[in-house]
Symmetry: C2
Subunit: 300 residues, 2 copies
């Protein structure tokens, strides 16, 4: 059961745009895909992809579309921020007769005391709060693993603050371009090598990742580890360092993951390995639910 078209939702990241024609409750009636914000020409891309959709429907767009490389820059909104505050801070403009809203990213002073920013994840977090209303009750820790993993604290339906870890980008650089895992097979979340990396990361958390990484190579050179296992071990070290640092920065027994199934497999296992509870919400569903959440806040 879906209703009439009510709004267009857009998840517009650096490398990909996904548009959804939605009814009033956020159910998807039609979809379109296009290039990410990094490709430029946002106005033309958007106009082409939405030409068939009623020009009276408003569009709500989140992600890098609101950055300096996007369509229009929207200033970051400082934490703590609830859905209503975020909706109220959207940039609104008209384009080809359609009203466009761009969701602001969030900024905060993070637990390590430095400025921190996100764009797009705030919408996924609002989606998670709508999909799992229990999340809005108490103080909860949410983890959005990715290129720049975000650890966000939510309480009373507001994003209180967050901390970014460079986990995904660092792993990708090391796996592809360093001496550590050149001849490795793919990362296997259920491998002994991944668990071994997790164990070392926990045991030597205070020594720090920088002094653990080279063991990926040294274990191969000395014959202690098969080359095929190097990426799994390296992934265990990086995700282990990420989770242990976050655990120290935010006191929490349980974590809600918002990400792809592949990342749920890795982070979910890492959290379980360290004795932490976790639940997972699909990242794409969270983004869509977040756009619907923000749309519902717009209505009088």
């Amino acid at each position: 059961m879906t209703g009439n078209p009510a709004f267009i939702g857009g998840d517009w990241g650096t490398s990909r745009l996904r548009l959804f024609l939605c009814d009033d409750a956020g159910a998807v009636l039609a979809r379109a895909e296009g290039p990410g914000a990094a490709a430029g020409n946002c106005h033309e891309t958007f106009a082409q992809l939405t030409a068939q959709w009623d020009a009276k429907l408003p569009a709500i767009l989140c992600g890098m579309v609101g950055s300096t490389i996007g369509w229009r820059e929207v200033p970051y909104l400082a934490c703590p921020s609830k859905a209503g505050t975020i909706a109220g801070a959207m940039l609104r403009f008209e384009s080809d007769g359609r009203t466009i809203f761009i969701v602001p990213g969030l900024s905060c002073r993070n637990p390590v005391g430095t400025p921190d920013v996100m764009r797009g994840e705030e919408t996924q977090i609002l989606g998670a709060l709508r999909l799992q209303p229990a999340l809005a009750r108490d103080r909860q820790l949410i983890c959005l693993p990715g290129t720049h993993t975000k650890w966000a604290e939510v309480a009373d339906g507001a994003v209180m603050g967050f901390q970014t870890a460079l986990s995904g980008e660092l792993f990708d650089l090391l796996a592809r371009d360093s001496v550590l895992a050149r001849d490795s097979g793919p990362v296997a979340a259920d491998s002994a090598a991944f668990r071994q990396g997790l164990d070392l990361a926990r045991e030597h958390h205070t020594a720090g990742l920088l002094h653990l990484l080279f063991s990926t190579r040294a274990r191969q050179v000395t014959g202690e580890m098969a080359k095929v296992d190097a990426a799994s071990y390296l992934s265990g070290l990086v995700i282990g360092a990420d989770v242990n640092a976050a655990r120290a920065l935010f006191s929490a027994d349980s974590v809600t993951l918002i990400c792809s199934p592949a990342l749920v497999a890795l982070y979910g296992r890492a959290l379980a390995h360290y004795g932490l509870q976790s639940a997972a919400i699909d990242g794409d569903q969270a983004a869509l639910a977040g756009l619907a959440h923000i749309y519902s806040e717009l209505k009088p």
Copy 2:
């Protein structure tokens, strides 16, 4: 005052070969340069570069020339190892009528409990012990900053053990290919940004580098830091994480640096910033002195 040619010393790394015709005391009478071990053809390269030098002179070669990518593989020698032990474990063979010795690399179980290896640095450490005999008296911490920074403990003239940090390689990857320092100027050791990175690395040592790195970007995005300063700040974070971890792993008030002048500028400032004493020995001189040290151990 130099004497007659007595031996050929060779510092043969991955990307560069330097050969020295030396007298009995290690003074350089002539030099030659060639491609590193990664280029292959070690036999031909060596034969061409030394054709003019008396075939009766032995050659002592250290570095990656003894690795699987080198001329002949020499097994790692386990720590602790003194100069005499290292000299005695050299691989010896004849090539075109000349006696060739290849110095073994060292291996150990490092302070974080993983296997660790070095090839070439052991010769620089032996050189440092010869250049500064005071180093051989007590337990001392030596740091050889580079692509794979080595922190080595020496006592009674022996290399007791060591720990590798991926500092140089990690910084290079992040500076060149990540989102962190794309539009930055070069690293300035005397900049406020470098010191700011050092401060954060110390203050949040237990949080870990992974959760500090993104601040390099966030400070730029929020206008707190000029883009030109990003590489200096990032260098402060990485070197700071390296030094603070090493300080926790090895208890030491002073460190002897063996490296290039550019790295002395960075690591020397970092150590001073944290209240540690340091002295520096030039990396090239240390390699040469180490080859002479090993040569002197060969003599009956």
